[in-house]
Symmetry: C2
Subunit: 357 residues, 2 copies
């Protein structure tokens, strides 16, 4: 089946300067994909004109006179930007013209509009944001929620786990992905009530539930999926970004300290390049907004064309491998199981699993 | 004034093998400190005997026949280990024989026993765990709570801020340290209710409140103090540990890939050494349990002697610079101000400060 992806060409910090080159490059790498470029038509066509060799037969341009600003309040974007590139890209998914859409625009607006246009799957209240993070096993750990749901009921963690597992089985090709519940290690005070009850639900489901994990397990790759509330997930993600940036700055500083260290840097160039590649956050670009009746991928706002193409690849893989069908299939069954199991037994104190010292 | 520090010599993964060498080394570096070594007396003396040159005139050994195990439930340690090295070290602070105590033992037990023996400061419910993290400005960001308080009321964040600011002014010598409230950036859903109300209290106090900060601000050093609930703080800390370990592993792997890269490593040795030193977590060892009527410093359980000595240094600095007096002085006034200010005005939606994009 040929997949068509709708791209919000105006979104992100760089708009057309990133989205159009990424689209053209993606077309050249994936022979059977088609793209719907949504944005101010004249500008999109002008950007495309720069690429003489692009296969225009697989591109369609759709005019969208409006643009959602990066700092626009979601409610205002939803109400007053009905002809925005973001809105029309999402509507192309709703109408079936595209099987997925990708935007680097304002996250809050993307969530609000997606939710309004596409609607949620039965039994899901809000979209969750899921993204892959590199781990030391050389694979990725998929983490959710990364900021959409600040206060979570036990039920929500279960939903995140089901959607996360479906995402990993579809995108990473894992059979029965393992799921960890993010918690803290301190024995006396392990977890808050929601997390403790969530563990009960997860244990009662037929998901491959590993048990509690701690922050370090994200990068150790202890489980394929890590679930947490959106506040915690967002802090963990941004803390990681800050730490990586600091370490990168220190490496740079130390290697450029004097002539000797500059010489060492020259000789270590190949190593430093590989190092950089292996932890290049651009390769992990493309968060999934899950729980919607359609595939929506959020690129980092500051993504360059290289990074944006990874987001396009994720949208393509999710659509081609039937992410929505997978979630829709497993959600009702796993939810029913969890509730039957968890209510069938008295609430128990959550026990420390192997991952918790 | 000469300061005396009580050391739980049996605590931690390595016990006497770490605590005694660290104590002897610390004595040799700090001329006016005295130490009370608490543990099984014969074993402590045997360990001390290995150090011929130690200034024994500044050391006193106190026998404690029992040891709190690293995995012992706090309640059991509290009830049944009344002659443990941990308990007697804390009791030496209570009696005034020591001005601070340091333990690398079981965190939960240390908190429970400290709270029971020393009692909390007026108006503080539980101890909070505060620790310094390196930031890219070359200084440290002091973060709390790191795991003691899972569910926090707005009031608790204010208490953390007051205690964190006192800690930084005493330990880092900063006048009016800036305080950030850890939050998430997503516009539509900024923060949960507790955090929003906490921002009101902080704004109404005369603390140097910067406003909301995000995870990346911890390592950017945007503020001197970052306050958050213990769940979030613990996850941020452990996530950082996991990421740092992964990056360290990758650097090692890439530099030992083949003869060429090994040669590059040899030539980069000085750089790699400096790099390692700058982010050496051992230099930041020593978390403060704040809110107690006494100074208690928690060393990492796996600390080596080098790291444990840093924890001793923190205890010494906190005692010598009057941490408790500073907190006791500022707590009532700042609390009263915050409540007068916050209740004097109607609750307002928290506004995004500069740090939030």
């Amino acid at each position: 089946m040929s997949v068509r992806i709708a791209i919000d060409c105006m979104g992100g910090d760089h708009g057309l300067a990133v989205t159009v080159p990424a689209a053209v490059s993606f077309l050249s790498h994936v022979p059977d994909v088609r793209l719907l470029l949504v944005g101010r038509e004249a500008e999109v066509r002008a950007a495309l004109a720069g690429f003489g060799g692009a296969d225009l037969s697989r591109i369609e341009v759709r005019d969208a006179p409006e643009v959602v600003a990066m700092d626009e309040p979601p409610a205002s974007a939803l109400r007053s930007k009905r002809k925005s590139s973001m809105r029309l890209a999402i509507e192309a998914v709703k109408s079936g013209e595209a099987q997925a859409c990708v935007s680097a625009g304002n996250t809050g607006a993307l969530m609000a509009i997606s939710r309004f246009v596409l609607r949620m799957l039965d039994g899901i209240d809000r979209p969750a944001i899921a993204a892959p993070l590199p781990n030391q096993r050389g694979g990725v750990t998929t983490m959710l929620d990364l900021g959409a749901n600040v206060d979570c009921e036990p039920e929500h963690y279960l939903q995140f786990a089901i959607m996360g597992a479906a995402l990993v089985s579809v995108l990473e090709g894992r059979d029965r992905p393992s799921v960890g519940l993010l918690n803290i290690g301190e024995e006396a005070i392990k977890g808050n009530d929601s997390v403790k009850q969530a563990a009960e639900l997860l244990r009662a489901s037929s998901l491959n539930f590993h048990g509690n994990v701690e922050g370090n397990d994200i990068y150790e790759g202890t489980t394929d999926v890590v679930v947490c509330d959106g506040f915690v997930g967002n802090v963990a993600l941004k803390t990681s970004e800050g730490l990586a940036r600091m370490l990168n700055g220190i490496i740079r500083e130390e290697f450029s300290r004097n002539l000797l260290t500059k010489g060492a840097a020259l000789l270590s160039m190949a190593v430093l390049k590989r190092l950089k590649d292996r932890v290049d956050h651009r390769r992990y670009n493309g968060a999934s907004l899950v729980g919607l009746r359609g595939i929506v991928i959020k690129s980092h706002g500051s993504a360059d064309a290289f990074a944006f193409e990874f987001a396009l690849r994720r949208a393509y893989d999710a659509a081609r491998n039937g992410l929505l069908e997978r979630i829709a299939q497993t959600l009702p069954q796993l939810t029913a199981e969890a509730h039957a199991g968890a209510t069938g037994m008295p609430p128990q104190p959550s026990e420390p699993p192997g991952a918790v010292r």
